[in-house]
Symmetry: C2
Subunit: 364 residues, 2 copies
């Protein structure tokens, strides 16, 4: 098992990464002073429930915990206020109180949703992240929780840090192949942001990672979570630096919104967005090799690097205008200056963005 800490003063918390950690979930809760008197709420989705719900519930009950469960539909559509309200109904009916904790067992959707339940239920109860996807290494660290509005993603939420993150890499073995690739997209992203060495390691170990080799996954998640933890520690509430984590997200979120949440997985949309950011970088005077190298590495992981032809450029540009990363009308982009180094550019010309979007259309 590997352990690292997200340093946030009195809100600091550990991330545990290793195979088989779920077996000790009850003891780990106890170690974090989450007692058995108040009921727990275990939130998961239908897909994850099939594999792990009964087992995790059983482990918790064996540890003396009362456990209420909320199983939501798999996919981004569950990140809504109406699903949030349904989960809060479960919480109230189960008698959750201020000493209770909410456990998110699943991917990023479950983590974001359950995290906002924990942030808002009785104005905030404790929260534990148990990510079961590679992608969720990113969303499970850092305390950003939210649901979507029909006009924009993640626009209703909070900053609410978990008590701990428990990453049992055994749970990754049941992931569909496409989700593995999409998860690795966000993991390599952490390297593209500020760890060239990690990008090179991923490049050299792509096959092992795609084959879900335990040692490779443990190392990659440890390093990836470490990058995330470092950035979050320096800027908890996204005052500035933390925005660098959004490399590829401005275009990526817009693609997801226009494609209607589902056609493109988040990690796939981010892969395309990272290539877009690298092409913007070239327009800003940086070497064109950043874009070609980014594209080459992402292709190695079987990730898409082109925008599906039927997605309308105007619609994509419009979706970006609704994105919360716009401030006072100017377009903010995270721009790679090199592999493993980014800058926040607050005055990217929307004309250039449109040109890059067009250049990324399939078949161009």
């Amino acid at each position: 098992m590997k352990q690292l800490t997200v340093e946030l003063g009195e809100r600091s918390y550990p991330i545990y990464v290793g195979e088989g950690l779920l077996n000790d979930i009850a003891a780990t809760l106890g170690k974090h002073r989450i007692g058995t008197k108040s009921p727990l709420l275990l939130v998961t989705d239908e897909q994850v429930a099939k594999h792990y719900l009964e087992r995790v519930k059983g482990l918790l009950e064996a540890g003396g915990y009362k456990v209420a469960t909320a199983v939501v539909a798999s996919g981004e559509k569950s990140k809504s206020l109406s699903v949030l309200e349904d989960i809060i109904t479960v919480a109230l009916e189960a008698g959750l109180d201020r000493n209770s904790a909410v456990l998110a067992l699943g991917g990023g959707v479950v983590g974001d949703l359950a995290g906002f339940v924990a942030a808002s239920y009785m104005r905030g109860v404790r929260f534990v992240q148990i990510p079961t996807t590679i992608l969720a290494h990113d969303s499970s660290v850092g305390g950003k929780v939210a649901v979507n509005h029909r006009l924009a993603k993640n626009v209703i939420g909070a900053f609410h840090q978990p008590e701990f993150v428990l990453y049992d890499i055994a749970t990754l073995k049941s992931l569909p192949d496409r989700e593995v690739r999409a998860g690795l997209s966000e993991l390599v992203k952490e390297g593209f942001i500020l760890d060239r060495e990690f990008v090179e390691w991923c490049d050299a170990n792509a096959e092992k990672l795609l084959a879900l080799d335990s040692a490779a996954l443990e190392h990659a998640l440890y390093i990836g979570c470490g990058v995330k933890a470092k950035v979050v520690s320096e800027d908890e509430k996204e005052g500035g630096l933390r925005a660098i984590l959004n490399l590829g997200h401005t275009i990526g979120h817009a693609l997801e919104a226009v494609a209607g949440y589902g056609e493109l997985l988040h990690g796939e949309a981010i892969a395309i967005g990272m290539v877009g950011a690298a092409r913007l970088s070239a327009k800003l005077g940086n070497p064109a090799s950043i874009a070609s190298e980014t594209e080459r590495i992402l292709r190695q992981f079987g990730l898409p690097v082109r925008i599906p032809r039927h997605l309308d450029t105007d619609a994509i540009m419009g979706a970006m205008m609704h994105d919360k990363k716009f401030t006072e009308g100017s377009m903010v982009f995270i721009i790679p200056k090199d592999i493993g180094e980014v800058e926040i550019n607050r005055s990217v010309s929307s004309v250039w963005v449109r040109e890059v979007v067009d250049s990324l259309k399939e078949g161009e």
Copy 2:
């Protein structure tokens, strides 16, 4: 004008109390570094909108601000996730960004609702409280914001402190008589909690307050807000002390829930609840005179001190079980030990609570 400060370190903020302060709203926003580049969202209800919306909007626009408005139905029913979602639609369509601010113009419902919009929109934007009722002196100070769930009040929310509270007592002059009385209930409550002298002053000045005498109101709101600010400064997130502000609220919230939000005004329910808490105090061995004195003073303000006969005791007890002020099954009550002095009692027998509820039924 009187000014006091809620001391919360870097989140400290002022409360301005005085007649005609709304005239300077634009300048006051500017003083608090809320600039004119990003649009403002002004949230109010239909009743308040009739009197003040056009005027306040005009004052803001004259100061160079772009202003989006959301007018909700008057009353507790607007404190719902669905109304919250509607307001966020307005915010997105108006292009509110992270530098925007949400202004709550109205009573406690508007403040709680708009405050939770501000807390959750893009994970938190700035927030200004402009209370237009006496009752709202309590809810507008301290940063507790929330909406209701059909099973419990204020159960979905956050702690989100405003940038400032602007209390223009001119806006109180249009309040219906019943709301004046209900507001004074919560104002006297601040005295019952920790300022005997203020209770005596209220007792001596009841007529002036009921007649909305400007000087009396300014003094009473200044002192009442001061009590609230003092308690909040010492315990921002209701870890312990802050719970004393809930004097009368355990029974009061249950009465509101059972009566179906509307039959009893909040301040009326709290008045009955304060008498209930005082009667529980007698059962705990304190002088019975606390209850009779509490009742006498509240009657002077024309407030109800008995539970409407048709409200079922079992339903009232059941509603209390859903109230978030229960921890691990034991019943927590704020108990007056004297006029102007309270204690938090975490082990009040539910049998006694039932006896007190029965004893408070009209006609008993």
